[in-house]
């Protein structure tokens, strides 16, 4: 299945801003994070089609999946 993955802030560095990915059926949001070599502790918000989701949410064909890091400085 095809899913568009969108990365935000410093997750973009050395990766991409948005990319269409071919993923096996049943892939979870967390598996995509792991495959991108993103530390789960650095993840703030996950959204599929503008709705908040968790690492366990299973992606579907045509989803737009956004990954936001925690930004903590002041």
């Amino acid at each position: 299945m095809q899913v568009q993955v969108k990365l935000f802030a410093f997750f973009r560095e050395g990766r991409f801003i948005r990319k269409d990915k071919e993923l096996p059926t049943g892939t979870t949001a967390g598996q995509v994070v792991d495959d991108l070599d993103i530390d789960r502790e650095e993840v703030g918000v996950l959204m599929i089609n503008s709705r908040h989701c968790t690492f366990e949410t299973v992606l579907q064909e045509g989803d737009i999946y956004a990954i936001f890091p925690v930004i903590g400085g002041g």
Partner: protein, 269 residues
Amino acid sequence: MDKQNKKRILQRINLCSPDNYLVLDDGQRIAADCNCSLLDIEQIALEHSIVPARFKRNSLSFHEQLRLFRSRVAIIGCGGLGGRTAELLARLGVGHLILTDPDNFSESNLNRQIFCTLQTLGVNKVEVLAHEIEKINPALTCTQNINLFNKNSITGSDIVIDGLDSKEARIELSQLCQKRNIPMIHGAVKEWYGQAGIDQAPNKLISTLYPKTTGSKAPPKVLAMNVALIASLQTAEAIKILLGHNSTLQNNWLQTDLLHCEYNTIPLP
């Protein structure tokens, strides 16, 4: 101040404000002659639709300028975001700032924190800030708390500005604000990237952006223009709430990326 005295002051103000703006020199002279503070004089002026001339180019109505004059904003953390926000709020004419921070300026703050200079290294941030913003707005009341924040740091405030730099502190401040029903204007920065939003009981902004699973990391690298951008956004949201304007950030947060020139408004759950 008795009624007679107030009437006398108002007559003096009216005499030197034919265009409904009171210049600083006149305000200070009237204050000295009448044995009261500039704050007293400007309060009487604003209550009678005369605006201190230094706010002329704000282009706000005297009602709006008076509302800002009567507002109290608590700034928690007076480093990058908090310091810059304090400067902007002082220029806009907010009447009372409550500043809280236990830290002193250090060399690593020079790259981004306003009023951190070679002369202020080693001096407490709240003390420096209070001194500097008084030079911008001499009628400003400033409460200084040189300590970690607690419930007293936000007591009586209309708005709280989040100038903190740790997840745990933000969660604690959010809980304190929600308990007292005070909107907390959140801002955070890292490198070229930032975010801003309004944390209020119904929208759960802070618990959304800082889930339990995340760890606390070393102080992030931050670029000065990013701090200025996010502090400006926080100031704009604070002023909008004080003046009764609606904001899209009541239900969303703003994600900024100066490197790729992207500004995204993201819906809260």
